[in-house]
Amino acid sequence: MPKTVGRIGRQLAVVPIVALGSYLLIVALPLGAEEDSKRQLPPELVASYRRDLGIGEPLGFLKPWQKLFRGERLGTTAQGVTGEELLRKISGSVGVGSLAMALALTWALAFAVLRSGRRGSGAWAMGKMIPAIAFGTPVFIPALLLAPYVAEAGHWLPELAAALVISASPGIFLGALLTDAVRAELSRDYVRTALGKGLTPGAVFRRHVVPNVLPALLDSIGPVATALLAGSFAAERVFGLPYFGQLYVVAVLQKQVAIVVVATTCFAALLAAVGLCVELVRLLVDPRARAAGQP
């Protein structure tokens, strides 16, 4: 249990580090501190900067959060956001992300099957080329090819298409990882022993290989979630989805620095939440995690 607590602690530690880091980086910029800077930037941006980031106030890094919890707007009047809007957009992105995670596992499975084809076969050759094509294709390209068919079509089609596009590359990465892990397990002695004892290949796979491959799969969920998040920025823009990724990009372009600080922390919190879920699942499915730390 202490080992699990340690892992959970490591996940959660990311959030305050990112919150403080992004705040200190933005506050370190010489904006709003001197009279000169008011001529360098639009006055309402400077005003929003000082007001929203609590410049000069003790515990100023809590100011943007304070404003959001009070229902006040963060940023300039025309381009700022309230906490309610932020939550609405986060929930949209989480929905698309959850769908993308499930699709990534599907891609992973499909790719693993392709790669396990007979050496020299067409499927096997494709299994070699597909990672290069997937990792060499920026998300906005397949998004643009698919968007004309689903944008503004309603019925959650744009969200589904965005999830499909975002999940392809991380799914193939996951598939490659899974295939290698499964191959490594299949070559172990205990598998040979189990087969020798008369267990069917299916039973060996289910009872022995899968439980040993699960930890590797769980370890890769974090990086996959990160990759899904990265892909969501471009996909939301191309599919016209008004969710968190698009909000973030617009905030950066409009130099709404307080929103950037808050949104960066929210992303870190989302990823930490994913990590926490992974640890919970690990506790449930991996007896070694449960046993760790016990005398």
């Binding site: 000169d36 001529r39 360098q40 930037l41 639009p42 941006l45 707007r73 009047t77 025309a78 381009q79 957009k89 643009l144 968007a147 004309p148 068919y149 944008a151 503004e152 079509a153 823009r237 191309v238 016209g240 989805l241 008004p242 969710y243 698009q246 909000l247 617009v250 372009l253 409009q254 130099k255």
Partner: protein, 527 residues
């Protein structure tokens, strides 16, 4: 997409706000197809010229005009509130016509105390004689004023019954956060929702508007309009998911021309502006050399299906524009000689232009200017900016405007040369520093010529004055170099009756009716 819904306070990127502003509001007057002035929110008006050198208009408002809640009547006080906010807003230079506005702008620029500024604002030449009568006093006679207040949304009213007594922050919140029926409107539509991240605006029909279009038999009014920005606009149009689209992409324009592709020549000019304060561009001979060395035909070659080169700020077809201006092109050798003499090759010059999508092929034009100037030994650094208007307004560490040059489009808001010259007046958002050339004498002569022309009742008679004013700007001070007059392309479903883009680049959403068909989707978009 709009940058603000607060039509009084506005934003320098104002052209993006016009579609929504004109769909939801009206001015005191309207402009007919032949540029004739017609009643708008004012049913009639009287003009008095010129007691004390000022021009006075008394507007009699339509008694039946109601805001979109159906209960609040339009009042003269609504104009007083709106114009007093506009004279302190981000495009306050456009309010200089009014008596007392110059004093307000001067106090604001000097950073005077709020009480002094408020005192000056209260003395502005706009007052409500009674709820139905508005008196407007102009600093001097302006033959364009009635045309101006038709479309320039700074002159639109704001609902004083709702906003009176609120703080400035609350008023901005009222406009920029649509909900619960606000902001109220007077035009054919009302803004119901504005999703900034999603880049879409949802308009709903204003049933209480005195200006709703009257559908003929077989037609109906649009109940809901969604304006949206999309990466795949043309594909959405081809698949019937939107019913109107601006075709701005050069790639799209190179495709086979569709039967429903329309082209509208705009009363608009795209120009290169110079920072007249920072060396070496503080040398007028260098600016003239750069301006006259540009090969405009080569600049626009193969960029658009057709392009109209510009040698004048005032586009052809604009009332009062005068005869076309010939411009002799300076040979590269002669230009190089001047550049070297004036120190134009000493350092790279930063050219700022707007980043993002536009119907102007800015990237190509900027790169060609860079190449053309390189041929005459002037090095140019290109700087595309999403925060373009903030960047050109920014002051550099040396106290001069931040960029050395910038590329910008200026479009007419009404049919008068003043619409182009306002930008370059003292207090205008030109950010070239030209008001300090020759200790301000150049801009004084410019404004004097404007005043003389504006005082004449007939715009055609005033054309020579405007031509001379233009000559100060382009030839004598060489503040800007006009490049071309843009056009706008769009595709629209035939069933959208009354919807068009005019020469002012205004989309006539307020006049739109829908011919009833089985498969109408009721949306329009923008690429």
């Amino acid at each position: 997409m709009p940058t603000t819904l607060d039509w009084s306070r506005s934003d320098p990127n104002s052209w993006a706000n016009y579609p929504v502003a004109l769909a939801t509001m009206r001015g005191l007057t309207t402009v007919g197809p032949g540029n004739e002035i017609r009643p708008g929110l004012a049913a009639s008006w009287d003009r008095q010229c010129c007691p004390g050198g000022h021009e006075v208009y008394t507007f009699h408002l339509r008694p039946e005009a109601r805001w979109s809640d159906g209960a609040t009547a339009l009042s003269a006080q609504d104009f007083v509130l709106g114009w007093r906010r506009a004279v302190q807003g981000r495009e306050r230079g456009d309010m200089l016509d009014l008596l007392g506005a110059e004093r307000v702008l001067r106090l604001l620029d000097e950073g005077a105390p709020a009480a002094a500024v408020q005192g000056a604002v209260n003395s502005l030449g706009v007052e409500a004689l009674d709820p139905q009568t508005l008196r407007v006093t102009l600093a001097s006679p302006k033959n364009y004023f009635l045309s101006r207040i038709a479309n320039v949304y700074l002159f639109f009213p704001a609902p004083s019954a709702v906003l009176g007594g609120r703080s400035e922050e609350e008023i901005r919140e009222y406009f920029d956060r649509p909900r619960g029926g606000h902001p109220m409107s007077l035009g054919s539509f009302r803004v119901e929702d504005w999703d900034r991240a999603g880049e879409r605006v949802r308009l709903v029909r204003n049933a209480h508007s005195a200006f709703s279009p009257r559908p003929d038999a077989g037609e109906t009014a649009a109940e809901v309009l969604t304006l949206l920005k999309s990466e795949v606009g043309s594909a959405l149009y081809d698949r019937g998911r939107v019913d109107f689209i601006f075709v701005d992409s050069p790639v799209a324009l190179q495709e086979d021309r569709r039967a429903d592709l329309h082209r509208q020549e705009l009363l608009s000019t795209y120009f290169l502006a110079f920072n007249t304060e920072r060396p070496p561009l503080d040398r007028v001979e260098l600016r003239r050399a750069l301006a006259s060395s540009i090969d405009r035909a080569a600049l626009l070659d193969r960029l658009l299906p057709s392009a109209r080169s510009a040698t004048a700020l005032l586009p052809p077809g604009l009332l009062g524009a005068g005869l076309p201006r010939p411009m002799a092109r300076l040979s590269p050798n002669a230009a190089t000689e001047i550049v070297e003499r004036a120190g134009g090759a000493d350092r790279p010059l930063r050219l700022v232009y707007r980043a993002g999508e536009s119907f102007i092929p800015e990237v190509a034009i900027a790169e060609r200017i860079k190449a053309q100037f390189a041929a005459i030994r002037v090095r140019v650094e290109l700087d595309p900016r999403y925060d373009f208007f903030a960047e050109i307004a920014r002051t550099g560490a040396d106290g001069h405007p931040a960029p050395d040059m910038y590329l910008r489009r200026l479009g007419a808001d009404y049919a008068h040369p003043k619409t182009f010259f306002t930008l370059f007046e003292r207090g205008g958002n030109h950010h070239t520093g030209w008001e300090r050339i020759d200790s301000g004498k150049a801009v004084e002569r410019f404004e004097a010529l404007m005043r003389e022309g504006d005082a004449l009742p007939d715009v055609a008679l005033a054309a020579p004055f405007y031509a001379r004013a233009e000559s100060i700007l382009l030839d004598e001070a060489a503040v800007i170099a006009p490049l071309y007059h843009p056009d706008r392309y769009y595709r629209a479903r035939p069933r959208l009756v009354g919807l068009a883009v005019d020469a002012f680049n205004f989309l006539s959403l307020g006049e739109m009716r829908i011919r009833k068909t089985a498969d109408f989707s009721g949306r329009e978009g923008r690429r």
